[in-house]
């Protein structure tokens, strides 16, 4: 038997003298590496711990129990558990941009230099000013805020709410971008084993030996689960040794993947699972090129849920006092970490396994102050052992209250006769039975079922290939864990096509798991907490009952029970049991809480992975991108594309001057613009024309080979989907363009029509958007410019290649190209396409060829100005709400064919004469700047919704006109040309007179395109 290295008085404990390093560390034993001493700090005080410690075990080794303040009452809180269920010991880990609020000290691995701070306290943890809230606890009952803070109404935002918000919340998030990276991994397996305790290890061994692809996931940094925390034997080996041997064998199996430090947080449909691996959280900072965490997206044919169970606290007065712990946690700190959590430890138990604590404490050299068993009969040998160690043993008793402030000093015990006594102790271990971890199987909306034998919810019929084993299935003995894990895995492997083979399970010591839970102490002194973190007391459950919040969902929402960061892992059942008692129902009749993913909280960064900053979404570059960058283009995000917006030149004072120059140059000389972003679709096949006739709203039957035509597409509801051009390259060969924004949508729609609506058509459709670099070359000198790049055998004169002509040509001495004579700008214009690898070369060649003609590159801004000058509808007009008639193209629609959208476009609401219709607008005072989004109202109107007559959709400064112009939708617009109205734009403080005019501001006859 070992003894403690130091014996300390209570006064010493209260003083928390840091220089007495690791005073509570047992001399030997535990799984920490005592050769690796680590420095760390908590609230600015330095301590030492060992490799293999958690922050919690290291703090306990140093006698630190007080680690946090509660949410509402700011009560001092300590360390309840030794695992991820911890509600109390949550701290801010690290600092600066890496600060991690609400980190559970019980799972935070110790590393050299770890820095942690308590949270939700001011000015200090020991003296928290808001501790005064505890005094006001009689007022701050559940739901009190629904009943007050209502007068006067304006005070809520100004006074009450800011006050509440400052007081509420827990830790502080970092206030800088997260400097670390997050990785993502897709993994597939036959058998996923969740949990690396005895059941999980047994399962992984069985499935792995069968040859199945196995993934074993455990949230801990060490495999073994309860074997690490308990003194148990498997065959001739200590449990820990058996686990180590199992791990060795698993590592030797090539198809077994072991993921430690990995929490399986969510179960999704069809065998999809989410897990997060904390790759670098046990290090001061991630290594070079290493992520902080990695999201595992696992697809498994079968899963064995061996996640274990969570011990239940007792509900009695002051059960939240630092020093009050779960009994299993006390054993874990002793056996795994070599730490005695107290000098004089008392045990309150409703189960046989609580008595193990007595054995373990004594074995570690600790003192047992008392054992209170809430049951009538206790095995004699257990009682004798405790009494012979000097402990007071009370049966059929309970704990009513606790004493101490920042640390437990004594408990008030009531015996079976109802008489009370005070027993001094600095740690109380609670053993009230175990709840199987049913969280994961309830993620797919399965409700667990009540098992009266073990007084706990257990998984119901499991969803989609999952099966529970071991403690997670309510099979608590070590023998059952090993056996059920193996059986579940053997079945799973068999399902996946492997031989079902069970290996002999090694023997274990007999275990008694009998217990009769005490849901709450009959007499309670002080506040008895059900949900520690959210400060929900038994009295709050009573109040909820009184006010009619009796269903589990109401109870939870009214009291906030189970809604804290621990999701009520240690509290839900206690709340239900009290409500059951109050309503005279059985526990399952009150209801079950549906646990939501994630099992434990997951960093947002891990779920986002690579996709942040510039990598949030892909960036598509146009073929001329390199040239544009070299030449100082200003780029703009257009969907996923990055397009050159304009090309500033030295001496130009703002973007407008550059854009004006680009427009003027195009209109007077020549310009080149990268229009590769357009969708380009190749359509071939015997029925290509028949298909297009049904697909497009305007007729195409008469389009000859070598010609292009504007195309208008409707949705089936009669609204315009998109517009583009269709060129006929051959008898059964067309190429269509779609707008940049709608390219993917149009392609999907075409496939829908081909595959689903009209499968009988023999038509082949391929996207060629990426294959071709395509440039608009526009302006009076466009032909002269192109002449310099088009191979000489091709005649591109106006006669040979008139407006709307299209042809396959070659450039640069045999490079295949496509030439279309189409114009968005209203000028003599071409679009020329070459295979994208030659896009850069073509651009440079055109720039060179155009230099004598004064060519300018122009960007999306000038492109937009020129299309507005021509009154062409684009994205702001084809906005999903407008009909072809609305944008002035009603006359183009075919009369004699069936096509998508034909019937629905004629509904009365879409054909009303008052519908806002596309027209132009110009300011009466030509110096005024129009703004898109301004509404149109009559000159004498009082602004109101009823006065609204339309709005401006697109505006531009027109260098050709020398003033701002706009196009937009105005009720009966085309009939009101010349009328003056107001452009009403209060969000930008503008309201001035404008004139309704034709939407075509430049070359209304369209003669320039035809020269």
């Amino acid at each position: 038997m070992t003894t403690m290295t130091l014996r300390r008085s209570d006064a010493d404990i209260a003083a928390e003298t840091p220089e007495r390093s690791q005073a509570y560390r047992v001399a030997r034993g535990g799984l920490v590496d005592r050769r690796k001493l680590l420095d760390f700090s908590f609230d600015g005080t330095s301590y030492k711990g060992f490799q293999g410690d958690t922050l919690a075990s290291a703090l306990l080794a140093n006698g630190v129990h007080l680690v946090g303040r509660s949410f509402k009452y700011h009560r001092p809180r300590g360390i309840l558990s030794a695992g991820s269920e911890e509600p109390n010991a949550i701290v801010e880990l690290r600092s600066g941009a890496r600060r991690e609020p609400n980190t559970r000290a019980t799972v935070a691995e110790l590393y050299a230099g770890l820095e942690a701070n308590s949270q939700n306290r001011w000015p200090s943890l020991a003296f928290d000013a808001l501790g005064i809230n505890a005094l006001a606890a009689p007022i701050f009952a559940a739901g009190f805020y629904y009943k007050t803070f209502m007068w006067p109404a304006s005070f809520w935002e100004k006074l009450y709410e800011p006050m509440i918000r400052r007081a509420a919340g827990l830790g502080r998030a970092a206030n800088a971008p997260d400097p670390d990276t997050y990785d993502r991994m897709h993994a597939h397996c036959d058998v996923l084993v969740i949990g690396g305790g005895p059941a999980g290890l047994s399962a992984a061994l069985t499935a792995g030996r069968a040859g199945a692809r196995v993934i074993l996931v455990d949230e801990d940094f060490k495999l073994g689960g309860c074997l690490l925390a308990e003194n148990q034997w498997i065959g001739s080996q200590a449990g820990v040794e058996w686990a180590a041997a199992a791990l060795d064998e698993l590592i030797s199996l090539p198809e077994v993947r072991i993921l430690t430090r990995t929490t399986l947080f969510g179960v999704y449909d069809h065998g999809s699972y989410g897990a997060v691996e904390r790759v670098s959280d046990h290090l001061p900072v991630p290594g070079a090129h290493a992520p902080r965490q990695r999201l595992w997206r696992i697809t498994a044919k079968r899963a064995v849920l061996a996640a274990g169970a969570i011990e239940r606290p007792h509900v009695f007065g002051g059960n939240d006092r630092p020093g009050v712990m779960l009994a299993g946690a006390v054993r874990a700190y002793i056996n795994r970490y070599g730490v005695l959590p107290g000098h004089k430890i008392a045990v309150v138990t409703s189960s046989d396994d609580g008595w193990r604590t007595v054995t373990d404490v004594l074995a570690a050299g600790g003192q047992i102050a008392a054992v209170i068993d809430t049951r009538r009969s206790v095995p004699h040998e257990l009682r004798r052992a405790a009494e012979s160690a000097g402990a007071t043993v009370v049966t059929d008793g309970y704990v009513a209250g606790t004493r101490g402030h920042l640390r437990l000093k004594a408990i008030e015990v009531v015996d079976s006769y109802g008489s009370a006594q005070t027993i001094a102790c600095d740690c109380l271990a609670m053993a009230n039975g175990w709840n199987p971890i049913v969280h994961l199987d309830s993620h797919l909306s399965r409700k667990p079922v009540w098992n009266e034998d073990i007084h706990a919810f257990v998984p119901a019929a499991m969803p989609q290939g999952m099966v529970a084993a071991g403690a997670a299935a309510g099979r608590f003995t070590l023998a059952e864990c090993l056996a059920t894990g193996a059986e579940a895995a053997a079945d799973a492997a068999q399902h996946c096509g492997f031989e079902r083979k069970l290996y002999p399970v090694p023997g274990t010591e007999p275990e008694s798991t009998g217990y009769t839970p005490l849901w709450r102490s009959p007499r309670i002194k002080g506040k008895a907490f059900v949900d520690f973190q959210n400060d929900v007391a038994a009295s709050d459950v009573e109040l909820a009952h009184r006010e009619g919040f009796r269903a589990v969902e109401h109870l939870k929402r009214y009291t906030t029970l189970g809604m804290a960061t621990d999701q009520g892992k240690t509290s839900n059942l206690a709340g239900l049991s009290i409500m059951a008692e109050l309503t005279g129902q059985a526990i399952p009749s009150v209801g079950t809480t549906v646990f939501r993913p994630p099992f434990t909280p997951v960093a947002l960064g891990a779920l986002a992975g690579h996709h942040r900053g510039k990598d949030f979404r892909a960036t598509r570059h146009v073929p001329s991108h390199a040239w544009c960058e070299e030449n100082g283009a200003v780029f703009v995000e257009t969907g996923l594309w990055l397009r050159p917006a304009y090309f500033p030149r030295a001496g130009e004072k703002d973007w407008l001057e550059s854009v004006n120059r680009e427009v003027n140059t195009v209109r007077s000389k020549v310009g080149i613009c990268d229009v590769t972003t357009l969708g380009k679709i190749d359509i071939q096949g015997r029925d290509a024309l028949a298909y297009l006739e049904k697909f497009t709203a305007n007729p195409f039957g008469s389009l000859p080979v070598g010609k292009a035509r504007y195309a208008i597409l409707l949705r089936e509801d009669g609204i315009v989907l998109d517009d583009g051009t269709i060129a006929r390259l051959g008898e059964n060969h067309y190429v269509m363009t779609a707008s940049t924004a709608n390219a993917a949508k149009v392609m999907q729609h075409m496939e829908f029509c081909r595959q689903w609506l009209w499968p009988e058509f023999d038509v082949q459709i391929a996207s060629i958007s990426e294959q071709w670099a395509q440039y608009a070359v526009a302006g009076p000198k466009a032909r002269d410019t192109l002449r310099g790049v088009v191979d000489p055998e091709f005649d591109i004169s106006n006669e040979a290649f008139p407006f709307l002509a299209s042809a396959n040509i070659t450039v640069g001495g045999g490079i295949p190209a496509r030439l279309f004579r189409i114009s968005f700008s209203g000028e003599l214009a071409y679009e020329i396409a070459v295979p994208a690898a030659y896009g850069d070369a073509l651009w440079r060649a055109i720039m060179q060829s155009g230099t004598p003609h004064g060519i300018t590159p122009y960007g999306s801004e000038a492109l937009s100005v020129m299309r507005i000058e021509k009154g062409h509808a684009a994205g702001a007009e084809i906005n999903g709400m407008t009909t072809a008639a609305d944008i002035g193209l009603g006359g183009m629609l075919a009369k004699k064919k069936d096509y998508i959208g034909r019937l629905m476009k004629d509904r009365p609401g879409l054909t009303e004469p008052d519908r806002p219709t596309l027209v132009g607008v110009r300011p009466v005072d030509r110096s005024k700047r129009l703004r898109a989004g301004a509404h149109i109202i009559a000159l004498d109107a009082t602004p109101s919704l009823e006065a609204d007559q339309g709005f401006l959709s697109s505006v531009a400064y027109s260098p050709s006109n020398g003033h701002w112009i706009g196009i937009g939708f105005i009720s009966r617009g085309p009939q009101r040309i010349g009328e003056h109205v107001r452009a009403y734009d209060p969000v930008r403080g503008e309201d001035f007179e404008v004139e309704i005019c034709s939407a075509v501001f430049v070359d209304p006859e369209g003669s320039k395109m035809h020269v």
Binding site: A141, I164, Q567, R612, F616, E637, G933, V987
Partner: protein, 416 residues
């Protein structure tokens, strides 16, 4: 007992012993003037306004589960009236006005918090669309401000202004928008309706709707037949299932929308903020949790849970907008079932069946509409004609083409 600071203080001294159930758990009677199917926010508000505005108190609200267990308790608590189309604007503004006086009206603190709703934009086109919307709001007398990048930076300095894939160019803010404690809305309306005599019947599932001569006469329920002169359906998420009981097909699909909450944090963000270049919106609850969401999962579902692809999409949006969130942890995510309508707008109307009324199709915008939906649905039921502010929400608008399609997505519910 009336709720006030004094009653709370008084009860603090008496150990909170005198509080009574906030509403009676009523046993259904055999006949009512009006039966409202659905004890969510809308159904309870409808019952309250039937009693308050129209003096109709012989009303039952039938809820298959417990009240407030549907979308009123599963949403992200946002209220706003920043719509752009004339069919929507007056309705949502009416709702906003009701929110502004709600707590005093029903004597229940639902924590209506007008902390502002900020919609970010990232392109000139988006700016113009928001300007159009803001101007429409201003025309209707609703507050709206267009902010430039620097003004946005002052409101939310922590978002990514330096390295963003889609740089923030500005925002549209409605300062009267904000959040409300969602559960309290259901409970508050329940308590206020109960006080006026409405029966709130829980655990009472409607299994059939009985008709005689083209008129409804009552409902079959798990607790027996209940006669009713008029029946209002207010069961967002399940509207099609109820409609199928009278052989109606609706322009609605049921879809799952996920919502998310982070661990509790000290105050970080003081408004509701929406990302304009991805699916992400966020606010912070009074308890400190960041409440956020994104796009619907996109497929028909009644399962109240979603899948990882959407979760990742939302988190990517969150990290892109607010890279300081990387180490903040997601605490919980869940799903609610939306009535996704064919134009993204709701229906408050009579049906072709006498005495049967429909309140449906709220997409993911139903919570903010709760007071006005109740108010207008009560009006429609009581007067047999639409209330002027909800007059556009007709069931036949899909046939007539009077669509209210704010997003311009057309007849595909999962795109709204």
């Amino acid at each position: 007992m009336r709720y006030s600071l004094f009653s709370v203080l008084g009860q603090a001294l008496r150990g909170q012993k005198d509080w009574k159930p906030q509403w009676r758990d009523a046993v259904p009677r055999t006949e009512y003037d009006v039966v409202i199917i659905g004890g969510g926010g809308h159904g309870l508000a409808t019952a309250y306004y039937l009693a308050k505005e129209h003096g109709i108190t012989n009303v039952a609200v039938l809820e298959k589960n417990v009240i407030g267990s549907g979308n009123v308790g599963r949403n992200t608590t946002i209220i706003r009236s920043n719509y752009g189309l004339p069919g929507n604007i007056p309705f949502y503004e009416h709702s906003m006005k009701l929110w502004e006086g709600l707590e005093q009206d029903i004597n229940y603190n639902a924590m209506v918090s007008q902390r502002g709703v900020l919609n970010l934009f990232h392109s000139d086109g988006q700016r113009d669309a928001y300007a159009r919307r803001g101007n429409a709001m201003r025309l209707a007398g609703i507050d709206a401000e267009l902010l430039d990048r620097e003004q946005v930076r002052q409101m939310v300095p922590f978002i990514d202004f330096d390295n963003a894939r889609f740089p923030v160019k500005g925002g549209l803010v409605q300062r009267r928008g904000g959040t409300v404690r969602h559960d309290a809305v259901a409970w508050g309306y329940a308590r206020a309706a109960d006080e006026r005599g409405v029966d709130i019947v829980q655990n009472c599932a409607v299994t059939g709707i009985a008709r005689e001569n083209g008129r409804v006469v009552g409902v079959e329920t798990s607790r027996g037949f209940i006669r009713a002169k008029k029946i209002g359906i207010s069961v967002a998420g399940s509207s099609s299932l109820l409609a199928s009981m009278v052989d109606m097909r609706l322009p609605i699909e049921s879809h799952v929308l996920q919502a998310f909450v982070s661990e509790g944090l000290k105050p970080l963000i003081d408004c509701v903020m929406t990302f304009g270049a991805g699916h992400f919106y966020v606010s912070q609850s009074d308890k400190g949790g960041l409440v956020f969401g994104g796009d619907i999962d996109g497929y028909n579902s009644y399962a109240q849970r979603g899948n990882l692809a959407t979760i990742e999409d939302v988190m990517e949006g969150g990290m892109a907008l607010w890279p300081g969130l990387g180490r903040v942890r997601l605490l919980r995510h869940w799903g609610g079932i939306m009535d996704m309508s064919m134009d993204g707008s709701p229906i408050i109307d009579r049906t072709d069946i006498g005495g049967l009324y429909l309140n449906a199709g709220w997409c993911y915008g139903g919570f903010k509409a709760t007071p006005a939906a109740g108010f207008c649905f009560a009006h429609t039921i009581a007067r047999d004609e639409p209330h002027p502010v909800s007059a556009a929400y007709r069931l036949d608008r899909f046939a007539t083409g009077h669509l209210i399609d704010e997003k311009g997505m057309g007849a595909q519910p999962n795109l709204h």
